[in-house]
């Protein structure tokens, strides 16, 4: 089972396909869950405190807006942990964790900096594109070590 960073991290489609084909999707929900389940924090809504943008300094310099650094404190460790990545290029209606275009540019850049397999595609808008989309993801994932897809 490989850890696959999904972009957008909030994607239902990618999260589903990655786990359906036997791998572990690294998406925003897991980072947020970790925050929500950390006892002692009371910083609604996301349990992100002013400390998190500071943690984001590992991925973006201090002159980068706090919202970018706060988001990077969620995405950055997952990018480092990822063994593969799937990127949807036209994800322009992903909000919240993926709602900042500048953060998303940085996420994609850092993902490409890692020496890991990456698949980039666009959302399907027809049955034919859906077939090609699913097949490409299945093939990509089956080439990763330990997947269930075949």
């Amino acid at each position: 089972m490989a850890k696959v960073f999904i972009y957008p991290g909030t994607s239902l489609i990618l999260s589903d396909l990655v786990s359906r084909f036997g791998h572990r999707p690294l998406g925003s929900a897991l980072s947020v869950r970790e925050k929500v389940q950390t006892a002692g924090l009371d910083s609604p809504p996301l349990q992100i405190t002013p400390e998190d943008p500071k943690k984001g300094l590992r991925f973006a310099a201090v002159e980068v807006p706090s919202g970018v650094r706060g988001r990077m404190s969620l995405h950055g460790p997952q990018i480092e942990e990822a063994e593969a990545g799937i990127i949807i290029l036209d994800a322009d209606l992903a909000f919240g964790c993926m709602g900042c275009a500048r953060t998303n540019e940085l996420v994609r850049f850092l993902l490409h900096q890692r020496d890991i397999p990456i698949l980039e595609l666009t959302y399907p808008r027809s049955d034919e594109e859906g077939i090609r989309f699913v097949a490409a993801i299945r093939d990509f994932l089956s080439a990763l070590a330990g997947g269930a897809a075949a």
């Binding site: 009371d42 910083s43 609604p44 809504p45 996301l46 992100i48 405190t49 002013p50 400390e51 998190d52 943008p53 500071k54 002159e63 980068v64 807006p65 706090s66 919202g67 970018v68 650094r69 706060g70 988001r71 969620l74 322009d92 209606l93 992903a94 909000f95 919240g96 964790c97 993926m98 709602g99 900042c100 275009a101 500048r102």
Partner: protein, 412 residues
């Protein structure tokens, strides 16, 4: 208890900067409720096209859609708070355009703010309080004449001021640098009482504003405790006799600066603080000290000088003072240095804050710094307009408080 004032939040990045608890806390302290205007995905998809600003960030698209819901009346709100990350260019464009759009398309008071992870509830409190005052106290803010005998007190970060008014006239004034908040207030009240010849017991109502308003409001049992944004706006248009129509009020204070677009005496858009001490009254005080003149002499001195001769534009009071020292060491005249200091402060307020409000004439300058003629002149040059400085402008918060306090006199 009345229903809480509902403040629509248009924000990007706040949840990820850890400042949402601060926004909620500031709202809670002024008994307001922060909410997100509800929209559909179709609204968000249409927002880019309809509004005409095609931004990349989806959360900014969401902000635009929510603003449209407010202006088109699909969502009810009492006020709008726009907040985006400091240093984000994309968000700054959206923030400014939405502020203008809401101001022009609705009667909702708007304040915009760019936060960092260090932003605290305390910083946001006065802004939230002003939104609540405007939403809840429109009737009070509609007052155009002072009645009876009232006391207005302004406990500022640098100075404390008191005003006693009787039948729409200022009859007593008091002014002192702020040292201990309570003691300074007692001193200025005593001065104002002495000048007016009024006994304390004759005062029918009292209003307090400024940083020390909560402490003093409680200790002297004030009838009105109100933030300085609405009080100063009201005081400014009252003193300048521009109570109807539009005006812009600029107050360069000791610690923070206020820029307010006013319509019929009620703030529509305002900004507050946000820049460093190099753009404050405090910097001008330091300049005067370094030049060996009293602060009251700085303005006339600056009027005789040519600011362009001296490079000075630091946001930081330390570096600003260094420029000052260098300029004098290089042989520049005190007149030129004074003019440059005034120009530097005016320019920074112009660049940093006046861009966040709509400049509507007349431009009224108030607060202690409005007496520094060189500063007023520099601001007028930058804005290409004749700046109005009404009589008693240095007592603006106290006058506004005394005026509004007369709404609390019990007839009887």
């Amino acid at each position: 208890m009345s229903a809480p004032v509902r403040i629509a939040l248009l924000a990007c990045g706040a949840e990820y900067s850890g400042v949402m608890p601060e926004i909620y806390e500031a709202a809670r302290q002024v008994e307001a409720e922060v909410f997100y205007p509800d929209v559909t995905l179709a609204d968000v998809r249409a927002a880019g096209r309809g509004f005409g600003l095609d931004v990349h960030s989806a959360d900014l698209k969401l902000m635009i859609a929510r603003a449209e819901a407010l202006v088109e009346g699909r969502t009810e709100a009492d006020a709008v708070f726009i907040a985006t990350c400091f240093r984000c260019a994309e968000a700054a464009i959206v923030r400014n355009e939405l502020r203008r759009y809401i101001h022009e398309g609705s009667r909702l008071p708007v304040v915009s703010y760019s936060f960092t992870e260090r932003t605290t509830a305390g910083t946001l409190l006065t802004r939230m309080e002003a939104l609540v005052t405007i939403a809840r106290r429109r009737a009070l803010l509609a007052r155009e004449r002072q009645e009876g005998i009232t006391l207005g007190l302004d406990s500022g970060s640098a100075t404390t001021k008191a005003i006693i008014m009787k039948d729409n006239e200022v009859i007593g004034t008091g002014w002192r640098p702020t040292t201990q908040v309570q003691q300074s207030a007692d001193d200025v009240i005593a001065l104002a009482l002495e000048e007016s010849g009024i006994r304390r017991s004759e005062i029918e109502a009292t209003g307090v504003t400024g940083y020390g308003r909560f402490l003093l409001g409680n200790s002297i049992g004030a009838d009105l405790i109100q933030e300085e944004l609405t009080v100063n706006s009201k005081g400014a248009v009252y003193l300048a006799d521009r109570q109807h129509g539009f005006a812009t009020v600029i107050d360069i204070g000791g610690m923070d600066n206020k820029a307010i677009t006013v319509q019929d005496g009620i703030p529509g858009v305002f900004t507050m603080g946000g820049i460093c001490a190099g753009a404050s009254g405090r910097f001008l005080e330091m300049t005067a000290k370094r030049l060996g003149v009293d602060i009251t002499e700085l303005g006339p001195l600056a009027m005789k000088g040519m600011g362009q001769n001296v490079p000075m534009n630091s946001y930081c009071i330390v570096f600003g003072t260094q420029s000052l020292v260098n300029a004098l060491a290089a042989g520049n005249t005190p007149e030129d240095v004074a003019a440059a200091a005034c120009h530097s402060v005016a320019e920074q307020v112009y660049e940093q804050q006046l861009q966040e409000v709509d400049i509507r004439e007349p431009v009224i300058m108030v607060g202690g710094t409005s007496l520094i003629t060189g500063l007023v002149h520099a601001m007028g040059e930058l804005l290409q307009t004749e700046v109005v400085v009404p009589r008693h402008s240095q007592f603006i918060g106290a006058v506004g408080s005394a005026l509004l306090a007369s709404g609390f006199i019990r007839k009887g």
